[in-house]
C-alpha cells in the first residue's frame, strides 16, 4: 500500500513538472506583455527598463529556469493588471470556485444516483427509457445555455432566486464562503445546478449501468430470498456496490468541474477563479493565467490521489489486498 502510494506521488510530481514546461512555453506565445505594461507612447528606454525589470530581455531558457525556481518557492509572478502576486490573487478567488464545484458535485449525485438506480431497476420499462433519453438531453445542453435558461426561469420570470453575483459570505478559518449563509446559498443554487447538469447525466448513466449489472447478481437474489424489501435492496445492496465506480469517476470529474466553472462563472458573474481566468485571458494577464494553470494542475493531482485513497477505503477487497488491480 505504501509503495503504491509513493509510486503514485512520484508519478504526480512528474506530471506537475511536465505541465510546468508546457504551461511556460505555451503561455510564452500569448501576446507581448510589454503592450499591457507600458503605455504606447513610452520611450524606448522605458521599454528596455521594464523588460529588464521583468526579465524579458533574458534568453528564454534563463527565463524558464527563473520561472521554475520561483515557482518552487510558491511565486508565480505578479499580475500585470492587479499588481498583486498572482498566487495570492488565485488563492483569493479559489474558495468561491471550489465551493461552487463542491455543491455542483453534491447536486449531480443527488440528481443522478436516484434517477440512474431507478432507470436501471426499470431498464426495459418506459420509465427507464425516458430517463435515458433525458440524460442524452442533459449531455446535449451547453453549460452556458443551461445557465441562461435557469436565470430566465427562476430569476427573471419566477423571481425565486437571485440571478448573478455571490451574496453574503461567512468567514470559515479566514476563508470567505457562501455555502454556510442562507443568502449566499441562494446565490449558489443556480450556478451549482448549471454546473451539475452535465455530471448528473453522467452519473445517471453510470448508476443505471451499475444497477443493471448488480441486479442480476446472486447476492441480490439472495437478499430477496431473505425477504429484504426492494427498496433496501436497491439503496443498500445495489447502491453500495455501484458507489465505487461512481465516486471514482466523480472524483476525477471534480477537476473538469472546476474547469467548466469558467463558463458557468462567466454566465452568473460569480467571482471565482474561472471568471478571473477569462478576464486575464481577455487582458493578456500572463502571470495570472500561468498561476491559474499551475494551481489547477496541482488541484487535479491532489484530487487524483485522494480519489485513489478513497477508492481503497470504499472497496474492502482492495483495502486488504493493497493496491488496485
Amino acid at each position: 500500500m505504501l509503495v503504491y502510494l509513493l509510486r503514485r506521488i512520484a508519478q504526480s510530481i512528474f506530471v506537475a513538472l511536465a505541465m510546468m514546461v508546457i504551461v511556460f512555453f505555451g503561455i510564452y506565445m500569448i501576446g507581448n506583455p510589454i503592450d499591457i505594461l507600458i503605455s504606447p507612447d513610452a520611450t524606448p528606454r522605458e521599454i528596455e527598463e521594464t523588460m529588464a525589470r521583468f526579465g524579458f530581455d533574458q534568453p528564454i531558457y534563463i527565463q524558464f529556469f527563473t520561472f521554475v525556481g520561483n515557482a518552487l518557492q510558491g511565486d508565480l509572478g505578479r499580475s500585470f493588471v492587479h499588481g498583486e502576486s498572482a498566487v495570492t490573487l488565485i488563492l483569493h478567488y479559489m474558495p468561491a470556485t471550489l465551493e461552487l464545484a463542491a455543491l455542483g458535485l453534491i447536486f449531480s449525485v443527488l440528481i443522478g444516483v436516484p434517477l440512474g438506480v431507478y432507470a436501471g431497476y426499470k431498464a426495459d420499462k418506459w420509465q427507464g427509457r425516458a430517463i435515458m433519453t433525458g440524460s442524452i438531453f442533459g449531455f446535449s445542453l451547453p453549460n452556458f445555455w443551461v445557465g441562461m435558461l435557469l436565470i430566465l426561469i427562476f430569476a427573471v420570470e419566477l423571481r425565486w432566486l437571485p440571478s448573478t453575483g455571490r451574496g453574503d459570505t461567512v468567514d470559515v478559518f479566514g476563508i470567505r464562503l457562501s455555502i454556510f449563509s442562507e443568502n449566499g446559498l441562494q446565490y449558489m443554487i443556480l450556478p451549482a445546478l448549471t454546473l451539475a447538469l452535465y455530471k448528473a447525466s453522467l452519473v445517471t448513466r453510470l448508476a443505471r449501468a451499475g444497477t443493471q449489472e448488480a441486479l442480476v447478481q446472486d447476492y441480490v437474489k439472495f437478499a430477496r430470498a431473505k425477504g429484504v424489501s426492494e427498496t433496501r435492496i436497491l439503496f443498500v445492496h445495489v447502491l453500495k456496490n455501484i458507489m465505487i465506480p461512481i465516486v471514482t469517476v466523480l472524483g476525477l470529474e471534480l477537476g473538469s468541474m472546476i474547469a467548466f466553472a469558467v463558463v458557468t462563472e462567466t454566465v452568473f458573474a460569480w467571482p471565482g477563479m474561472g471568471k478571473l481566468l477569462i478576464d486575464s485571458i481577455l487582458t493578456l494577464d500572463r502571470p495570472v493565467i500561468v498561476a491559474y494553470l499551475m494551481m489547477t494542475v496541482l488541484i487535479f493531482i491532489v484530487i487524483n490521489l485522494v480519489v485513489d485513497i478513497f477508492y481503497t477505503l470504499l472497496d474492502p477487497r482492495v483495502r486488504v489486498t493493497g493496491g488496485t488491480s
Binding site: 437474489k221 431473505k226 425477504g227 429484504v228 474492502p316
Partner: protein, 326 residues
C-alpha cells in the same frame, strides 16, 4: 400434515427462441420435518422448481400454472408484499455458489441483521445476538468477531456456513437448498452435509435438497424425487429409489455413480444428450435415450402410476422387479 404441497407447477421461460418449459407439471409433497432430495441432471428444472417455490424466477421466466400450497396457503396467489414476508422467514433458501451469494461490500453483520429485521421489529442488539448464535450453530469459531468481517475474508466453505446461518435466522418451516455443496471441495462438502443433517434433525425443519449427486442424497434425504426435462419421473423413499429404482432414467443415473457397480466394471452412462428444452420430443421426453422405449413412449406422455405404496413413477414400462437389472 404436509408442509408443502406442489401441484402441477409450471414455470416457463419466454425467450426469443421460443417458450422453454423448464418446469412442466411438477407434483410433490413434503411432510413436517422431512428432507426431500430433488435430483436430476443440469437443465432438468430442479433449480427452477426451487426458485419457483420462493417465486424468485428471473425474467424471462414466470410461474404460469399450478399451486404451491405452503401449509395450505397457495404461494402462487400471494401478493408480492405477502410473499416477501414469507421469504427468509417461513421459507428460506441456500444458494449454490457461496462466493456469489453474499454481498461483497457489506459486512456479515449488516447482511444478517437485515435478514432478521426484515421480518421482526427487534432491536439491532437482539438481532445481532441472534446472528451470533446462528453463526455458532453452524460451527463458525468466535462468531462475535467474525460478524464484523467482510465476505471476502471467509473461505468458500465458511461463506456457505454463513449462508446457512442466515437461512436459519428466523427459524423457517422450510429450507430450499439449491446444490449448496456443489461448488465446495469434497472434504468441506461432507463436513457441511454432516452439519446440515444435524441441524435439520435438531430443528425439525423441512428441507428440499436440490442436487445432481445421488451420493449426497443417500445420507441426507428421507425421500427422493428424480426430475427429467421439467417433470418428476420418480419419487419414493430414499432407500427404495437408490436400491430399486423403477424409472429407466433413475436406473441410468444410479449407474453413472462410481462405486455402485463392481470394481473394474465400466461406468454405465445414459446414452445421448440432455434434451433441448425448447424442442422436447412428443410423448415421453426420455424416450430417445431410453433402453426400454417402445412406440407408445414416442406417442403418448406417460401418466403417474403408483406401483407400490409411496413409489410414484411416470413411465409406460417401469422396471418393477429386479428383472432386467444385474
Amino acid at each position: 400434515m404436509s408442509v408443502l404441497e406442489v401441484r402441477n407447477l409450471q414455470t416457463h421461460f419466454f425467450t426469443d427462441a421460443g417458450v422453454v418449459k423448464a418446469v412442466d407439471g411438477v407434483d410433490f409433497t413434503l411432510d413436517e420435518g422431512e428432507v426431500l432430495g430433488l435430483v436430476g441432471e443440469s437443465g432438468s428444472g430442479k433449480s427452477v422448481t426451487g426458485f419457483s417455490i420462493l417465486r424468485l424466477v428471473d425474467a424471462p421466466g414466470r410461474v404460469v400454472g399450478g399451486q404451491i400450497l405452503f401449509r395450505g396457503q397457495d404461494l402462487a396467489q400471494l401478493s408480492e408484499p405477502e410473499m416477501r414476508r414469507m421469504r427468509g422467514n417461513r421459507i428460506a433458501m441456500i444458494f449454490q455458489d457461496p462466493m456469489m451469494t453474499l454481498n461483497p461490500v457489506l459486512r456479515i453483520d449488516t447482511q444478517m441483521i437485515e435478514a432478521v429485521r426484515a421480518h421482526e421489529r427487534v432491536s439491532a442488539k437482539a438481532a445481532r445476538d441472534r446472528a451470533i448464535s446462528a453463526l455458532a450453530k453452524v460451527g463458525i469459531p468466535s462468531p462475535a468477531e467474525r460478524l464484523e468481517a467482510y465476505p471476502h475474508q471467509f473461505s468458500g466453505g465458511m461463506r456457505q456456513r454463513v449462508a446457512i446461518a442466515i437461512s436459519l435466522l428466523n427459524g423457517p418451516d422450510l429450507i430450499v437448498a439449491d446444490e449448496p455443496t456443489t461448488a465446495l471441495d469434497v472434504t468441506i462438502q461432507s463436513q457441511i452435509l454432516a452439519e446440515v443433517q444435524g441441524l435439520a434433525k435438531e430443528t425439525g425443519t423441512s428441507m428440499i435438497w436440490i442436487t445432481h449427486d445421488l451420493a449426497v442424497v443417500a445420507g441426507l434425504a428421507d425421500r427422493v424425487a428424480v426430475m427429467y426435462a421439467g417433470r418428476i419421473v420418480e419419487t419414493g423413499a430414499t432407500d427404495q429409489v437408490l436400491t430399486q429404482p423403477g424409472h429407466p432414467y433413475s436406473i441410468g443415473l444410479l449407474g453413472s455413480i462410481p462405486g455402485h457397480g463392481h470394481r473394474g466394471q465400466r461406468l454405465a452412462q445414459i446414452p445421448g444428450m440432455a434434451p433441448n428444452m425448447a424442442r422436447l420430443p412428443e410423448g415421453c421426453a426420455f424416450a430417445p435415450r431410453c433402453f426400454r422405449a417402445q412406440d407408445q413412449c414416442r406417442q403418448n406422455a406417460p401418466q403417474i402410476t403408483e406401483p407400490a405404496p409411496g413409489q410414484h413413477l411416470r413411465c409406460h414400462f417401469p422396471v418393477l422387479e429386479r428383472e432386467a437389472l444385474s
